[in-house]
């Protein structure tokens, strides 16, 4: 699914040059669940952004499903993302002006799926995530756990092959966090590849493999 070779990401300003990633190389097979761990500022989120085609590496190779994507422009990256990659963020990042169903349908909207089909698929996913009863509510009316379930529903509705999760339980209590991790595990068992950034050893234990980053480089890979 993912092949990364000698990936570098350097942030340059007038005064300083920051090496966020330094010759990172690893692979992720289809259906794997990989956790990326490391201290703050080690480059985890940068790596996740590059994997999610939200950013370009400074140097190196990144192949997604065998296609080299490292040097693509914004429009191409956007097109590639659609329907292939789903995102789950720590702070949920739901749109306040959209209700639950509309937030979930968002990826399908930009894929040009007709409204009837969008609705059908949203209902299916809401049922699966156990949030159908909140269909018409807005994010500010939901609890943290419910919001994250909506975010996960949004991430999976397009049937992506890859889900990238950036500290998905960071803002949740242990019960809700557990629930979210169970959902992710379930998705993984159904064949979705998951790459998750986390600080939590407990959350990392759900993964097949842990990649440890330190100062932009991989220091250890641990199978579980």
């Amino acid at each position: 699914m993912i092949e990364v070779n000698n990936l570098q990401k350097i942030f340059r300003t007038e005064e300083v040059e920051t090496w966020a990633l330094n010759d990172v190389s690893f692979n992720v097979a289809d259906g794997e669940f990989v956790a990326i761990m490391g201290p703050s500022g080690c480059g985890k989120s940068t790596l996740l952004n590059i994997l999610g085609l939200l950013d370009n590496p400074t140097k190196g190779s990144y192949k997604l499903q065998g296609v080299e994507v490292a040097d693509l422009d914004e429009n191409h990256r956007t097109d590639l993302r659609k329907g292939v990659i789903g995102f789950v963020f720590q702070s949920f990042n739901l749109i306040d002006e959209l209700n639950v169903r509309e937030n979930i349908e968002l990826p399908l909207l930009y894929m040009g799926v007709p409204a009837k089909e969008r609705r059908r698929r949203a209902e299916e996913v809401m049922e699966r995530m156990n949030i159908s009863h909140r269909e018409k509510h807005f994010p500010n009316q939901l609890s943290g756990g419910q919001q994250q379930r909506v975010a996960i529903a949004r991430a999976v509705i397009a049937g992506p092959k890859l889900i990238l999760a950036d500290e998905p339980t960071g803002n949740l209590d242990s019960v809700n966090g557990q629930e979210v991790m169970n959902l992710l595990k379930e998705l993984n068992q159904q064949g979705t590849t998951i790459v998750m950034v986390t600080h939590s050893r407990h959350d990392a234990s759900y993964a097949n493999r842990i990649i440890n980053l330190f100062d932009g480089s991989i220091v250890k890979e641990l199978p579980l």
Partner: protein
């Protein structure tokens, strides 16, 4: 997808409900006022463009539009370049009714007496009927209707031909033809709409008045510019002067009628710099709509500020949409939909205002030249408003594109994590513009008030309001003198005089002593005054004496201040088109000699006692000189003892109507009421202007309110964090107060000099003899104070609300 965008647009409107409402309402009002103003501008640009190049307008040498018809005919006969002329007398007034059912025809001010050369000279088309029958009829009078009027009255142009109209004093007149409407953009009739054209035998033409508008058509090959650059002079001999039924009752055989004649081309600025009708109309529209231009600027700032804020504060959402597959075009479509929705709502409201307010403006101007009853076409205003709405949409889309493009360039992941602070720059600009506009607006309105209604406000004082005027104007002293004698015999009447109260024609004054940088020749007005009038008005001779000879004059303080002239100094004046006591000095062109006038006295300023100016705005722009001539005609004005106004009015009314009933004062009114009536159009305009100005002011303040609301709302999280760390409401209030103080200082530093300059140059004191409204530093401080108080209250209110929230909840939700 479009439904989604539409849904987002309305939800976004709901998010900032109050601010969006303010934005929409203010833009709608501003758009309408702007439409009115642009309507005038477009009209002025089009004036007379439809006329053939060979057709030029005849004026006196000072550009006055009224020309003596006998002189016009004479010069037409003398000049070989002229092919034909057409004359108009727009002042025929009588009752017009349909002959069959006696129903009243529209206001008769719109029927114009003219020559049968009408179509040939002006190039108007014949729509129905037979023009030969108009020209050759044996009837004393015949009539042609304008096309739109014929359709309105009779259903069609053809149906109107042959119809009979009963005209009081003339009898039944048959409609012989229907002609094309005179284009509105014309200086032909001083903007009065011509509903119909009346043709009479030449000797019947204009009986009772020999002045009017004259257009001539030059022969082929004559260059109109060259022709118009040449001044001409013409005069009638004594015999014809005596026999002509002139405006001034000439009995003295030594007096000729003559004067200078000029021709003007049709270009704007030269054409029809006529009497007050045109300028009164344009000024009235300008005063109504200028506040609208100012609030349009503020309203646009409100709108675009809100738009940009909305886009920039939604960056996180836009980044999220990009994450899920939205590209720049998707973002722009979403924002554009929002803009179009706002603009459509604005447009509907603006069109609604145009539909219902435009007729109110017509009603307000009903005392004026009557032009706006036809001219201010609601449908045209609506059409223009639609055009500006389209422009507004285009401008909004462009701004949206720029903003979305900028947002698109931002790093997605960083955007998702960040929250955004306020945009002080835009708020600062908005405050600056608001201050500038409000200051200009108030200055404009103060000036209007001081120049138009204050000059005669002294008349309302009890001891001076005992001045009554007889509204009937006499052209013959033999009729006036008996009335004056009668009134003087009454015990409660202290003074009865004839006040020369007609158009004060301009003369050209050569000062020779001009040391103040004015041109050596300047227009002036002559006011006729004698000892009795001065006593009645309470005007004193400060120095010197009353003039005795016709070549002696008095001047007032304002005159001496401007020209620094003293008793014993000599001025030179030359008159035009008017008989002069000394026959040798009839103006016949640029070669005419100047009449020397000696200053023999100074009097109090009569500018404040402007009963003699009868409210004509332009007359206060020129110096006045005071002469002691025998007044030929005018109004009877009396002064009565305090408390005897009612008896004085009754005495005057009963003199004219022996069957006078108590309460019937229509023929007599106090001078203050008379001035008020003459200024009624200005009162109406003033009411509209002040109403629009108040709306403008409210909108400006509301715009500031919405901007501050957005700013404080956006910084909720910051305020919550500060509270968590120990800040109190007072500390947070000071934080904002400091910011706004800085913004106010910067906006004042920028706006005060600009507005002071503009006010000084363009509004308050731009003409030498106009009464200045005056301004002082307090004026600006007052404006600033209002805004400071308002902003303080708004900040206090907003922060008060936010400070009552639990900061932890705010941080969590934000």
């Amino acid at each position: 997808m479009f439904l989604h965008y539409l849904k987002m647009a309305f939800r976004s409107l709901g998010k900032y409900r109050m601010q969006n409402l303010i934005s929409i309402v203010s833009l709608a009002v501003a758009l309408f006022c702007f439409s009115i103003n642009m309507y005038l501008s477009r009209f002025m640009i089009q004036v007379d463009n439809w006329l053939d190049d060979r057709v030029v307008f005849m004026t006196d040498v000072n550009g006055g539009s009224s020309v003596n018809f006998d002189l016009a005919k004479e010069i037409t006969a003398q000049r070989p370049e002229i092919e034909a002329l057409v004359r108009f007398n727009p002042y025929v007034r009588s009752s017009w009714k349909k002959a069959d059912d006696k129903s009243s025809i529209a206001n008769t001010d719109y029927f114009i007496h003219t020559d049968t050369t009408l179509l040939d000279v002006l190039g108007l088309k014949l729509i129905a009927g037979n023009w030969k029958s108009v020209c050759n009829t044996n009837a004393k009078h015949c009539l042609a209707l304008s096309e739109s009027f014929a359709r309105k009255q009779y259903g069609s142009a053809d149906a109107a031909v042959g119809q009979e109209i009963l005209i009081e004093e003339l009898g039944v007149v048959t409609v012989q033809a229907v002609v094309q409407d005179l284009p509105f953009a014309n200086s032909i009739m001083n903007f009065e709409y011509a509903a119909g054209w009346m043709f009479s035998k030449d000797e019947e033409f204009l009986s009772g008045r020999r002045l009017g508008y004259v257009w001539v058509k030059l022969k082929e090959g004559i260059d109109s510019e060259t022709f118009c650059n040449t001044p001409y002079s013409v005069w009638l001999d004594d015999e014809r002067a005596i026999s002509s039924d002139s405006y001034w009752n000439l009995k003295d055989k030594d007096i000729n009628i003559g004067g200078g004649i000029k021709f003007t081309t049709r270009s704007p600025g030269k054409t029809g710099k006529s009497d007050m009708g045109f300028w009164k109309f344009s000024l009235s529209l300008l005063l109504v709509s200028l506040p609208g231009i100012l609030i349009l600027i503020v309203a646009l700032f409100n709108y675009f500020h809100l738009l940009v804020n909305s886009i920039l504060s939604n960056r996180r959402e836009y980044a999220l949409r990009r994450v899920h597959g939205a590209n720049t075009a998707d973002m722009w479509r979403m924002v554009s939909t929002q803009i179009v929705v706002v603009t459509i709502l604005t447009g509907f409201l603006s069109l609604f205002i145009a539909r219902y307010v435009t007729p109110m403006i017509r009603v307000a101007d009903s005392q004026g030249p009557g032009v706006t009853q036809f001219f201010m076409d609601t449908n045209v205003i609506i059409k223009h408003t639609l055009e500006y709405i389209v422009l507004l949409v285009a401008a909004g889309l462009l701004i949206a594109w720029i903003a979305v493009t900028r947002v698109r360039r931002a790093d997605i992941s960083g955007t998702l994590k960040r929250s955004y602070g306020g945009r002080n720059f835009m708020l600062g600009v908005q405050l600056t513009v608001a201050q500038l506009m409000i200051t200009l607006l108030v200055a404009l309105l103060l000036k209007m008030r001081s120049n138009l209604t204050e000059p005669y406000s002294w008349l309302s004082k009890e001891d001076k309001t005992c001045i009554i005027t007889d509204r009937i104007r006499y052209d013959d002293r033999s009729m006036m003198d008996p009335e004056i004698s009668y009134l003087k015999s009454l015990p409660y009447i202290t003074h009865a005089v004839c006040m020369y109260n007609e158009h004060l024609e301009g003369s050209t004054l050569n000062t020779e002593f001009n040391t103040l940088g004015y041109s050596n020749e300047t227009d002036c007005y002559r006011t006729f005054i004698d000892a009795e009038k001065m006593d009645m008005l309470g005007v004193r001779i400060r120095e010197g004496r009353m003039p005795v000879r016709s070549t002696e004059i008095m001047v007032d303080d304002q005159f001496t201040e401007r020209f620094r002239l003293d008793i014993g100094d000599t001025l030179k004046v030359r008159d035009f088109m008017r008989n002069y006591p000394d026959a040798d000095y009839i103006f016949t062109g640029d070669e005419t000699a100047w009449v020397p006038l000696v200053i023999v006295g100074h009097i109090d300023n009569l500018l404040d006692k402007s009963i003699l100016t009868t409210g004509y705005y332009s007359s206060i722009q020129h110096p006045s000189i005071y002469c002691n001539w025998k007044v030929l005609s005018g109004f009877v004005v009396v002064r009565c003892l305090p408390g005897y106004q009612k008896e004085a009015k009754e005495a005057i009314a009963r003199y004219h109507n022996p069957d006078f009933n108590e309460g019937d004062y229509h023929m007599a009114m106090s001078l203050y009421d008379y001035m008020d009536q003459n200024n009624s159009i200005w009162h109406s305009i003033g009411f509209i202007a002040w109403t629009v100005a108040i709306i403008a002011f409210i909108i400006t303040l509301l715009g500031i309110y919405s901007a501050i609301s957005i700013d404080t709302t956006r910084r909720r999280r910051e305020m919550a964090v500060r509270k968590i760390n120990g800040a109190r409401k007072r500390n947070i209030t000071m934080l904002f107060a400091n910011l706004y103080v800085k913004l106010f200082i910067i906006s004042s530093v920028i706006s005060i000099p600009i507005s002071a300059f503009l006010i000084k140059v363009a509004i308050l004191n731009n003409r030498p003899f106009e009464k200045g409204a005056g301004y002082a530093i307090l004026f600006y401080l007052f404006i600033l104070l209002i805004m400071v108080v308002f902003v303080s209250l708004t900040i206090g209110f907003k922060i008060g609300r936010i400070s009552r929230e639990n900061p932890a909840d705010v941080v969590k939700s934000e």
